[in-house]
Symmetry: C2
Subunit: 211 residues, 2 copies
Amino acid sequence: MVEDKRISMAVIRRLPRYFRYLSDLMKMDVKRISSKELSERMHITASQIRQDLNCFGGFGQQGYGYNVESLYEEISKILGTDTRFSCIILGAGNMGNALANYENFKKRGFDILAIFDIDENKVGKQINNIDVMHMDTLDDFASKNKIDIAMLTVPNKNITDIAKRVTSLGIKGIWNFSPTDLMLDNGAVVENVHLSDSLMVLGYRLKDIRG
Amino acid sequence: MVEDKRISMAVIRRLPRYFRYLSDLMKMDVKRISSKELSERMHITASQIRQDLNCFGGFGQQGYGYNVESLYEEISKILGTDTRFSCIILGAGNMGNALANYENFKKRGFDILAIFDIDENKVGKQINNIDVMHMDTLDDFASKNKIDIAMLTVPNKNITDIAKRVTSLGIKGIWNFSPTDLMLDNGAVVENVHLSDSLMVLGYRLKDIRG
DNA sequence: TAGATTGTTAATCGATTAACAATC
DNA sequence: TAGATTGTTAATCGATTAACAATC
């Protein structure tokens, strides 16, 4: 139906923002919104909103604007909120813990099946009702469960090796929290979350305003 | 010395990456590198590297390339790795815990002075040797300590109010982990880390490759 | 010196913004 | 219908890439 022309990453990365704002509008019982009103809330141009949305379809109505609920539904569909993704966490450290305890993921369609670590003190325990299993059992686990996403919170040393192992098990998505950039040439999808990069940029910008 | 023409965010966000790669090269005892070699490692163009670096100064030498160590030093200086930033964490939940335990921050110049929460069960305890204090004592604490950065890991409900309170205390930098976008008009510097946005984009891209 | 590689200008590409005819 | 607002094309802006003279 909608042309499958390549959507730019810039547009894709704005989708969750639209999703959040529409979700908030629904909570506030707002029924309709124009691109102009939304642009003022989001601090972007109305033009950009209309351009972005029209990558996926004409969801609005001339003279009226957009119906909040149906636009929300459309964006949900685009983002795949209806799709469920099976995930595992590699690394039961602080970040692994935080992710395992993050309740919102399940709500958004991301189920965490298990956590893997090499620390015998952690293996056998549970974090937020999710089993911590030994890394050695990963291959076996993967053969018995279809896993979509591996969340990597392991120490950075051997991150590329781990990523290769994970993708060789057929896992197509990687959410990488290690500071090392993952460059995989096997078609896997990698999202990097470089926390220290973000903090360093904050530091730079702070120094910058000070003069 | 170097012209203070505005540096674009695109360039600034690449600085920590250069920093990481140069740091790795130093560990590998590489003494010099050309923009071409570096571009192959980083999977970006040599042109972009030279353009980026020349925003800050001519760090290379024709016919030779760049001295790894001195380029590393220059980028450290630009990023302010020598500067120390005093930080507090608001919210002693899972993410607050993870941040408090992240040892790399101190190494990069970010000192965490205290953690604040409203949960009486947490107040008075320590996380990684950092005191968890009651939110009510924040104003007093801020009047006695110069704080540069507040790391916000509190539940999203009242994030804007908290951000306003924090900036009214003279804190100029905000590292925001709540899913809500902070729009402050008081000159504070905000870096957003929207984990669920990142995960949703990963989900989208996974669906996308499946067809 | 000759070769290599920078710094920098110019060309290209892509993303954002403006404009407006279509239409609800 | 008249007014409002979209969808979409065209114009602008900015970022990336290419090219090459300068120079180590």
